[in-house]
Symmetry: D3
Subunit: 285 residues, 6 copies
């Protein structure tokens, strides 16, 4: 009985956070270890479904690099990377779209449904959600795209009717050409278009570290105004640079709080939202 | 962090119960120690507000015997009891109504609001909620009433608009005469009228015991069909008899599950709803 | 038949006023003789219910001084008054709240229901309606409160669903402390918060008199701009001063017309609204 | 002031009737002296607008015999009558439709608007309201029609949006042929189709008289079961026969109460609805 | 089959126009040959019903000169014209109202219903739609009116409920006096009040011609800024002058595009809306 | 202009069909040549978008055999067929799901959007749309599934909000296992669950032929009661057998009319719906 009481008290401890986020929209970029580790994955599914049941509106944007790589390899299509971005020729684009929209997206939908939610998968083509264009007009990157416009009506419709949207980061132009867009960028653009209160980027690092070799040097709160200086100091560098930039753009677009958190920690999303301390690095004004 | 993880897991553990009870109506008879002990009281408030935030519709019916006794004593009004029911003359009725409707009811409302809810107090006069008549037509019991009819429209309006109704068990007849009605009876009648899924009676006992002197002899599940036999055996007796009868009437009126639980256990309501084992005695078909 | 015809013509005479006030909100401060005289009381109930049926939204705020005094006396609690306001210690506050919320409020609710309305009683605690604080920070007045904020959502919900709200002027602060607030002040604050078209204060005087000893010297219309001068001349003095100030505040807060009328006149409210001449003193821009 | 009080009391006297008829539908056949006498006409307009404002849904069906006769005369078109029904050839039909739909109907609409209502005129062609066919298949009566079907959707739309429908009794068949239908019959059919609570036929007689020469012999209540016997006795005869038959059909079609009242009495409709005694003859089960 | 295919392709060709006008409001002034030629008339009915079914909101305003003339002649009432406007004395006004509201209006309603629509006829009196006053204050023109105000609520109600409003251009003042108003002016005023996207005036000319004797000299697009110059050149003259002025007023009032088209061309409305070229003269910014 | 007139008349000719199908639901199984021929494909897109704009609710279910075959070949996965059904092992299932859900589905969505519609792609996993189980419990067929249950809520939500759902025939069981289901079967099951008025199966044959070698021997209407006899005669055989069975099941499930039509005919869907003759074979009661 004592243990049951502790459980009850923990539930009650969550009440202020539930109250605070009731009716709020939270965009979650889902990727990395939290997507490949079956055990972590199941916990993310539970976290997101719980969010919906306690009154929040989670919106999931996912990546899928490892699955894409595996399929490209099976098809003997070689990948070239420039500045960490995959050069996406027509053959690669076809595979990216199939793997993201047909396999990864549906697996997440299925997982959320199995955890008790009602999920609805879509790519940027559905409902004309993501209008895109070439990210690199030189053509050197192929069909790597950037977001030109988000049409959020379809998302409004589905979240108000109780569904959790799960979005593959594929954009489309007026010629029906598909584009492969970085999932962090899509998540940030959707957070802005949906007037989200929170953007959460799941990563495989503990957050922004002052000293990349020392996990105790976590920067818990990063102000937008401090970013430039940290970049110059080399604190924000490598893979963290585009992630922080995504957060900055979202904050500037009106998203209240953005978070870079460690998806390797079980229930990282829940911890961020329902506990006082939060986890990882928060980027805000 | 480890402790935070445990917290997250407990939250997730509650998910199936949250899902199961989403949109369901739960009538709670609030009284006894859970109302007089300040610490227990606060936990009840939290439990009820949490229920509302995770999508349930709690409806609270309260008693207030000790407060009434204290005020009657201060006013030098003597109380007589017959079969555990207070003989309610006009003077007593006035005090009962003032104390229940003006003091106890508003203190509960205030407590729920302070815990983050939106509560709305009412007596059976408000919106014509409880139509009553003499429980004892001989007149020997005075204005002790029984429920003639429940008009649930006002409850429908307030629960659909996000409020937690808190009800003082005062009935009224067509002559505007007030009646003092047992709170358990009112809770059962409202549970039936509101097509509630659950009726929870908070008491100061662990539930129905096979052997009243042995708390290990708890009867966890009591079928309606077993009641008569247990009454004849003397297992259901004393104060438990009317409580079990309330539950039976509610079950016969269409309420899915009814519970007699120990209000002295902190978070007893939450434990009943959100844990597998439940607590106290469940009366059902 | 001739008499029936006259009746029909009177009904038709009311048509322009019914049309004019259709859908409008009218806050009525109910107190004085209209509350203690059983015959007057019944007429007020009828007037208010009629208003609701012909399409207006009446909102009732009531006092209850005589009832409070009687109960304090029965409990041997002495009352001290400063500037006409009752010094309200903790014991007095408890009685005020019980009498207003548990007895007077419910009697009005019951009376409106008996006249064919659907009334819903509440105190300032219900739905967090009235946030209050000490009116006198010196503490000399005890728990005499002033309105800090009105949360009108609960009123919107109930009036749109066909109910007549009846409000006991009890406020509450964030510590759940109750405050005793002057009913005129509460009525004015609620009229402003609800964007009422009319505020009606029932009093035991014919209105504002130029010469307090001559009821023929009634000032029918008082412009807000004239108030200061009348105060200086001593025309607005004594108990009329706070009432006029309430009206001025309401007018400044956007309430179209405010009225100080004589509750001793049967159907005074109806006469004010449905006849050309009006009754008492109207305070307006 | 005394007179004002009497007025207030008369308003309050109407309250139970207002309450009783709130939301109810009342079909009024408007014709006879109440339509030709300018003074009576204005009173009918006021009565109907008042009904709308106090929450009823009046629906007006009108005749227009005298206006039709006048126009036919101006156009040198002779009228023949068989059993009190006008033989309606094509030329006559054109005039009937113009006069009823273009002149009489719009004059009533205009009068209701001037009295503060929002009226909407229509004929049976509008919204396909009245499907008709030859009343007399021999062709001897010309385009005298009978109601084949009522399509009440347009009426539902306009009454729920606050309008008073005013209906000219012109029917139409699938070939777009217009028919001249008796207004009493149309009123009865619409009362049935709209599930009206009341059908009121304005006539130029005091109601059904036991002795046609003695206005004191009024039959206040006529049961449907008594009709046949009264017809055989000759009590129901002449112009009263079709009117009583209309009422009987309406009652049999589910209309609660039907009334044949004297339109020459000022405010006859109001008196019928808002006074205890009623006026004229009520036909009911 | 080949012919069927062509049909399908024509349907598909209409798709961009259907899409473009979906939910848009189009006011059509219906008159001239399109109203007197039975064959043209039926095509107009079909065009308008089709517009409604494919998602537009057509609103019809009609004239009726020839029918009025015929009836005036039958009644031996002489007509005088000043500047092309009929001097409208009381007798004439009565006939105008009867013919327009009772005959022409209902014939159009009936025709639209027979073509599968749900039409609802009204004059400017219904719902208080058209408030009017003397167009000529000298009184020389009699009851020729001008639009003072449009109350579009009734139109909003009926178009949102699936009806096609058909409006006779009769206005009314606060004294219930009827006025005869030019239908083009009424159409323009309603287009402005309803925030229509298109105003279409059906005429018996091909549009505005540079050279009135040469139908090949059609001016397809007329900018508002060019009007004055064309008037001075005499290009816009005679009956075209008031029509162009109507269009200019509508454009200045916010109507996107206005069209003067040749009602003698079968399906002229449909051609204007559903084909690339349009027909007649478009007046726009 | 003459040609334009013909166009207008064809549009008008479609009016009765538009009226008849307004608000109706039509499930279209899209596959075969209409999906592989770029020109036919574009016409199907236009047809479906047009249906939505004129008030119908088209729902698309698609196959994708050729695309699946191509990808299986590229991945060196061999396909085995039993009775025309692909034995679907785990590797094949993965490819089926990727190709159908990620490529074919999104290409159709994109095509409908480019034609002016708002399409939303989904598989049977989205919103838990298609619950499936092994079609062949022996396991010989692998993950070939049959429909156990359709959860149509997600479809209701999206069609009422203006979207065209496009469904890949992938089912899922409670263990998150994917199943490959025949698209005709899915279309029939969805037509039943959505209470569709019409089910249209696009094929590469002209319909059911009496003599398979003679396209003039088309059976235009096939009654459900005639099916057995035709099967015995061998008229319904081969690939037509399961298609006819789908239609029969749909008809028995309450779908009004079902059609097997020739997708190789341009605009076949439009012709079926908007022309009198229809095309292909209709299966009905």
């Amino acid at each position: 009985m004592k243990s049951a009481l502790e459980k009850a008290e923990i539930l009650v401890e969550a009440l202020p956070y539930i109250k605070q986020f009731s009716g709020k929209r939270v965009v979650i970029k889902y990727g990395g270890a939290a997507m490949t580790d079956e055990c972590l994955k199941q916990k993310v599914m539970q976290d997101i479904v719980l969010m919906k049941y306690v009154g929040m509106h989670p919106i999931v944007v996912h990546g899928g690099g490892p699955e894409i790589n595996a399929m490209l390899k099976r098809l003997d299509i070689e990948s070239h990377f420039v500045n960490g971005l995959r050069v996406t020729d027509a053959d690669t684009m076809e595979v990216v779209e199939m793997v993201l929209g047909g396999k990864v997206n549906k697996a997440i939908v299925s997982g959320l449904n199995a955890s008790g939610g009602k999920a609805l998968g879509m790519s940027g083509k559905d409902g004309g959600l993501i209008e895109a264009d070439f990210a690199d007009t030189s053509g050197a990157m192929g069909f790597v795209g950037e977001v030109k416009n988000i049409n959020p009506q379809i998302l409004e419709t589905v979240i108000e009717n109780g569904y959790i949207p799960v979005i593959a980061p594929i954009g489309v132009d007026s010629q029906q050409q598909s584009y492969n867009i970085n999932a962090d960028l899509v998540a940030a653009a959707i957070a802005v278009a949906m007037k989200a209160d929170k953007l959460v980027l799941l990563t495989d690092v503990p957050g922004l570290l002052m000293d990349a070799t020392d996990t105790d040097s976590l920067i818990s709160v990063l102000k937008v105004g401090e970013v430039q200086s940290y970049v110059q100091q080399g604190v924000i560098a490598g893979g963290m640079l585009p992630k922080v930039q995504c957060c900055v753009e979202a904050v500037q677009g009106g998203v209240g709080r953005t978070h870079i958190i460690d998806g390797r920690v079980p229930h990282a999303i829940l911890l961020e939202i329902f506990t006082k301390e939060g986890v990882g690095t928060m980027v805000t004004w």
